[in-house]
Symmetry: C2
Subunit: 656 residues, 2 copies
């Protein structure tokens, strides 16, 4: 069995080869991701989220888009009855496409016929709105609407098309070459004609078409699409997009060419979707300089512009990255979609390079951004993911669309509702991010209870069963169910925080009990026998984590992490007479494990008397010494906060 979507295969071989090889990204890099059919989650943290996504979120998104007329926008275009009164923002089509992508992955994962039926019913309505020349958009180009491509800065036409292509990529990799794929092919051909050589010299204000074209090019073996993606990338960064009010060209990364930039800036989702497309193009065209540029941007942006949660985007104003070290807890934007986009970039860089640091950031972002957004019932979401909440969020009615992206309370839907469908498509394909293959090397990238049946690139198959309660517990037990009769390599990721991790390998020649393994990849190479068991033991005692001294907003405060989980202190866990703002952590007492969080020792400051009618500053150092008895308070995983009614919250607790 060969990977049907590598760049070197002939076009005719590239279409669907079954869910085993269906995966979010088909790289030409060092590693390939496993197919959605190669891994089956067996409950656990992500299995539960995936089930809720399947059971609740997919239908929830469809209901809302029906209710608001975002799906009917396609019907009205098909019927010739649309106009300037169309409901929804310019980019609402993209939400329908992201839902299609989620449905495609979900069907690929389960084979559920009802999911396929939903998918096909939606595709029929989308397809009916496509113009004869392949153009497909419900907001532009019809009677009563602005002409096509008259607002490249804000119109989001190519952005929507990019999401259409990503949906088709998911479909071609999970269901075969059917109607949506043809719709996407015609849309992509239209884009190539319109914006290709001799066509419009334009780019879209919101990157996305680049990654969509590059991936569709791979999925269909169509180098024209890769070339068009490359063209869009190279055009960007020369200040040609008309400005949008109050924001400079860095807002949409039109200030510096991708290959010259040193750091991510401007709108975080835009920066990250663009970077994802850049990696795809770099890998497919052998452009090492471009790949190195994205790695450089990743490194600097992660080291200076990324939250402890993996969240990206410090600013509400432009939903954007801040300056270096600008990481306020309270106004952290950390848009859920930026978390998804960060995963897209890191995944591509992991596949291109095999470097475990990319997988580390993915894990951090999965647990603390992606998993934080959906409420436990899958029917409400965080859009922004701040690390501190000073005022409890107001209750949001279940049937009310919410304009807020402020955090504090999850909402069923938003005015700009990009996050729910982004969560849905990510969760539906989550297991495909759990492992990679390169030659005869199988790498377990994310730790989750699962069964894997993985085709090796050079032939043969490895079957593994992973048992773990991770992240609640650090023990990851891997049993070999099947393996070829020759030496191969099995690698397990040891996260960077896992100092003191050990790997026990039953039946190894030098078996002297578990051996220490350093962060990175713990590797075993040998001829495996069914029944072999490996046990990775990751230390998951709660630990204190301190901010870099250059992060001004967090000075004098500390966070507690446990395994991959960032913990937080919620006001509902404090005694009634203690205000969250008055709590100071005693770092001389090590945090102790408590349920799936921790217990920490804190002191409580005397409430400060009402001020004298002046700004809150005084002539002497403030009395910041607790005056009451120390108490132990529980911290809970950040991803679970705000599930127990309105509360205030903080990840970073000031130090006593």
């Amino acid at each position: 069995m060969t990977d049907s979507s590598t760049a070197s295969a002939a076009p005719s071989e590239r279409t669907f080869a079954g869910p085993d090889l269906a995966r979010p990204v088909a790289p030409g890099g060092a590693h390939r991701g496993v197919g959605v059919g190669e891994v089956r989650l067996d409950g656990g943290f992500w299995g539960a989220l995936q089930e809720t996504n399947a059971r609740a979120t997919l239908a929830h998104c469809l209901e809302w888009m029906e209710r608001l007329g975002w799906v009917a926008n396609f019907d009205r275009v098909a019927a010739g009855s649309t106009g300037g009164d169309r409901p929804g923002w310019q980019f609402s089509d993209s939400e329908v496409y992201k839902l299609l992508e989620a449905l495609a992955w979900e069907h690929g994962r389960t084979g559920d016929a009802s999911v396929d039926a939903s998918f096909n019913a939606l595709v029929d309505r989308v397809a009916a709105a496509q113009d004869d020349d392949g153009y497909l958009n419900t907001c532009f180009g019809h009677a009563g609407q602005p002409d096509r491509y008259t607002d490249l800065s804000s119109g989001h036409e190519l952005y929507c098309t990019g999401h259409l292509l990503q949906a088709a990529v998911a479909r071609v990799r999970t269901g075969g070459h059917d109607r949506l794929v043809e719709v996407a092919r015609r849309a992509a051909d239209h884009v190539c004609r319109e914006f290709g050589e001799g066509g419009r010299d334009g780019i879209c204000g919101h990157p996305e078409i680049e990654v969509g074209l590059a991936e569709l090019g791979r999925a269909l073996g169509e180098p024209r699409y890769t070339e068009q993606a490359r063209r869009f990338l190279e055009r960007r960064g020369h200040g040609t997009l008309p400005p949008v009010a109050l924001l400079g060209p860095s807002y949409f990364q039109d200030d510096v060419p991708v290959r010259d930039a040193g750091v991510w800036r401007g709108h975080a989702v835009r920066a990250l979707y663009l970077a994802a497309g850049a990696v795809d193009v770099a890998v497919d065209t052998g452009d090492d300089e471009l790949l190195a540029a994205v790695e450089r941007q990743w490194t600097r942006s992660v080291e200076r512009r990324t939250y402890l949660t993996g969240g990206m985007g410090s600013r509400h104003q432009d939903e954007g990255f801040g300056d270096d070290w600008e990481l306020p807890a309270d106004r952290a934007y950390c848009e859920t979609c930026a978390g998804v986009a960060s995963v897209m970039v890191s995944w591509r860089l992991l596949l291109a390079t095999g470097d475990a640091r990319y997988a580390d950031l993915m894990e951090r972002t999965f647990y603390n951004v992606v998993a934080t957004s959906p409420r436990s019932d899958g029917r409400a979401f965080f859009y922004a993911n701040p690390l501190q909440q000073r005022e409890p969020g107001a209750d949001v009615r279940a049937d009310t669309e919410n304009p807020r992206a402020e955090g504090g309370v999850r909402a069923p839907w938003f005015d700009v509702s990009c996050c729910p469908t982004n969560v849905a498509r990510t969760l539906a394909s989550w297991q495909a991010y759990a492992a990679t293959v390169s030659g005869d090397v199988v790498s377990l990238v994310q730790h989750a209870p699962a069964e894997l049946r993985v085709a090796l690139d050079d032939g043969g198959q490895v079957a593994l069963r992973v048992r773990t309660a991770y992240p609640a517990d650090g023990l990851v037990r891997v049993e070999v169910l099947d393996a070829p009769d020759r030496p191969i390599t099995l690698r397990l990721r040891v996260p960077h925080w896992a100092d003191g991790a050990t790997l026990g390998a039953q039946g190894e020649p030098d078996d002297g009990g578990p051996r220490p393994v350093a962060p990175g990849w713990a590797e075993v190479r040998r001829t495996f026998t069914p029944g072999d068991v490996f046990t990775l033991d990751l230390p998951t005692e709660p630990r204190l984590t301190w901010p870099d001294p250059r992060v001004d907003a967090l000075r004098g405060a500390v966070a507690v992490e446990r395994g991959p989980l960032v913990l937080c202190l919620e006001s509902v866990d404090l005694p009634d007479d203690v205000a969250l703002e008055d709590v100071r952590i005693d770092t001389s007492v090590a945090p102790r494990a408590h349920e799936d969080g921790a217990l920490v020792r804190v002191g409580v400051l005397a409430p400060v008397a009402a001020g004298p009618g002046r700004p809150p500053f005084s002539a002497g150092p403030p009395a910041a010494v607790p005056d009451g008895p120390a108490i132990d308070v529980p911290l809970v995983p950040y991803h679970r906060w705000a599930e127990r009614g309105p509360s205030t919250m903080r990840v970073f607790v000031p130090v006593q």
Copy 2:
């Protein structure tokens, strides 16, 4: 001589009585402000700013508004040639009106005929655009434009009218009842018909009409205007304004009625203009509950939502107040206009109550927000006034409009250019905020070299000469030039920070040398004789100022103040090999006076090594102990920063 604009005077008496009684606010409260003609600044800090305003800023604003077509918008309406292609935002008319207000005050101050000619030439163009029924707006209501009052949330029509009325108030108080006043009267009558009893039940998304109507009502003795202002105030806070994208009703204070609110929230300029109007209405209608509500909001907002500079507005996204204690230095918005608006509110509360705390906040805001905005040449401005700049601002070309309101570099003009004209009108009338009169009590509110000839409310006149180098020096010498032959009271404000202040009163019966005076009002009551000299000595040694422990973003850092000036550390004052982010202040060494700033002892952290590809957090407390020799570095007044080329800057310096 009586105050011609008190609420009890008959209408016919209320028109212009000469510049002696021309003042920004004519209250019915406990005190009155001095007239622009009652005080003449004699150089000094504010005299210099006022001269630059007169010499450069007024013409600069007019040039820009001519260049951009904002003045010509009126000509096009008059000519019937306007349409949907009108340049400028919906509110650009208001900039013309604020310039008219500034010109009126400037003419009142100096009697300069060329200023009067500029004023009259502009008035002619404005007047020609007024519709027959009094409506006056260049953006709505004409061919090719949206109908009148079809976008109350964002259209700014009543906001513009409010500024027109304020300009007319300045004129009626300084130049008499001429053409602009008639234009304003017709516009106000139109508003009363359109939005009065039985009319439209609407309010404007941006408050301003309230304060404009209330003040015009006083100036013209027209209670209908006060009543309409009251009506707008009472209508607000019931969620009737259509929402604007992504922002809730608190953005324009339509969430809670003014008299019920506990704190300012949402867009800072809107909140403060509304509060100013509320004080005017409360005072004029004897509504003590409403006055108490604004005092309550002032108190809580100042104590929890106000920067050390007096700046208000923590958030860029909505140009708004943040939550309590949300006072980040780096993303402080502190819009210049919010500083002006804060002065408007505090001035009204000072006049209504006589409480020195309102004057203290005005001083803080004057020196550290209003004076910070204009560049020393009066031809470029800060819009936002952050207290920390991590990346040096890019140079802005002198002839380029700038979309940014980010701070870091002053710009000649902005896309939304509300600040330059707001600075201009405030500086042109600054001396009128320097003193108040109540009965036979004269209060020196702001300390500046000046000559005052003040009419007492109960007859007679006091003439004083103030000599001082304040704020560079704390000595304020007041000489009596003329006084009635009976006991009167002279009060000098002792700022809240002036612990250890003394007042020396030559020739007082108990003259035993200077006596200590506590913050508040230092009072002398007696029969004064020409030649009497009083010397207020305010300590202006540099002092450390610490943030409240609840201000998370400033924890572990300290500021240095000197007199009313907030100081800052600019990168251009550091050795070349020292990064601002690595500087730690040694608070065990008292800051020493140095030029008009201070010298402080600092240590320098070893530069932190490049991170390992992870977010900037570590398992142990960061090494934050300086490893080099201590050095002394100068701090400069915050209002002067960014005058020496691009720099980084911080007001709050982390403590060693």
